[in-house]
Amino acid sequence: MNFALPALVVFLCLLPGFIFRSRLKRVESTSLDYSPFGRVVSEGVLWAGVLHVVWIALCPVFGDVADLSIALRLLSSNLDVHGKALNAVASQIPRIAGYFISLYAGSYLIPSVIRWLISKYRLDRYDSDWSWLFRFNDAPWYYLLTGADFDEDNEPDFIEATAIVNVAGEPYLFKGVLDRFYFKSDGTLDRLVLENTTRRKLNEDKSPRRRRSAAAAEAGFSAIEGDSFVIQYDQVVTLNIQYKKIDLATAAALTPIVAPVDAAEALA
């Protein structure tokens, strides 16, 4: 059986870079990384190089020294050199296995910790000093819909989404609290999940009576029963996002609200 050992060696050496990169770019188990293939490969190879340098530098700490010449000889096409390298590998399998197992484990765990620290200390916020390094510039929906750009003191409590969707040829306005959102593989939004959803026909805006006050326009909304309401983003004509904050009411805020009286509406 012919076995492309040099290709396997290259693969094993580069694999940790790709593992590291994919773990660093993930948040809540959904990939936010839709980079072009060339960038994925170049970053993966770069991370692999960095990890190998760090691991080789750490070998003396564990009382060992990495013999890089064995790896180079494994890539050789000279059968004699290749054979000697294989013998060297065979004589120290536990050490080499330990190197790669710890490297793979590290390339999985280290970026998860880094990602957690970035999120915890909000290093990827738009005004962070580190945003040039840690920000997902290719994932604007993530920052728009998770509130990751707000500082902790001013973070809203929820997002209200209002979408116009054509239902049987008629445009409807759907409004609700955004619960979840999903991406397609190309990074565009796939669907939105709303809760506490209401809806009304958009053409009721055109009625002169409805136009007279915001309250009258809102009154046309009817609640949709159910816990979650899913809207396919492909069917959304326009989407409006509002960040809402819930505060404990102070005594001053509890004074009665005097709503503007619409005379025409009152007479109607």
């Binding site: 948040v27 809540e28 959904t30 916020r125 738009y126 005004d127 993530y142 920052y143 819909l145 998770t146 509130g147 750009d149 707000f150 500082d151 001013n154 973070e155 809203p156 409590d157 929820f158 997002i159 609290v177 955004l178 619960d179 979840r180 959102f181 999903y182 991406f183 809760e195 506490n196 209401t198 915001a214 309250a215 809102e218 009154a219 909304f221 609640a223 509002q242 960040y243 809402k244 904050k245 819930i246 505060d247 404990l248 009411a249 805020a253 509890l254 609200i257 005097v258 709503a259 503007p260």
Partner: protein, 54 residues
């Protein structure tokens, strides 16, 4: 992926009464008032729109 939702928002949305109040028409100041009854205590909240961070 989970959208932004604080524990307080989850708490108000899980209660049918406060959930209904969150759907109310905002006042002229753009605020919605929510009254929560929990363990015999009445809690008043004001829900308002805040500007985008960036």
């Amino acid at each position: 992926m989970k959208a932004l939702k604080s524990p307080l928002a989850k708490q108000l949305l899980s209660n049918p009464r406060t959930r209904e109040q969150l759907r109310q028409v905002p006042s002229s100041t753009g605020e919605t008032r929510v009254v929560e009854l929990r363990n015999g205590q009445t809690q008043h909240y004001v829900v308002r729109v805040v500007p985008k961070a960036a």
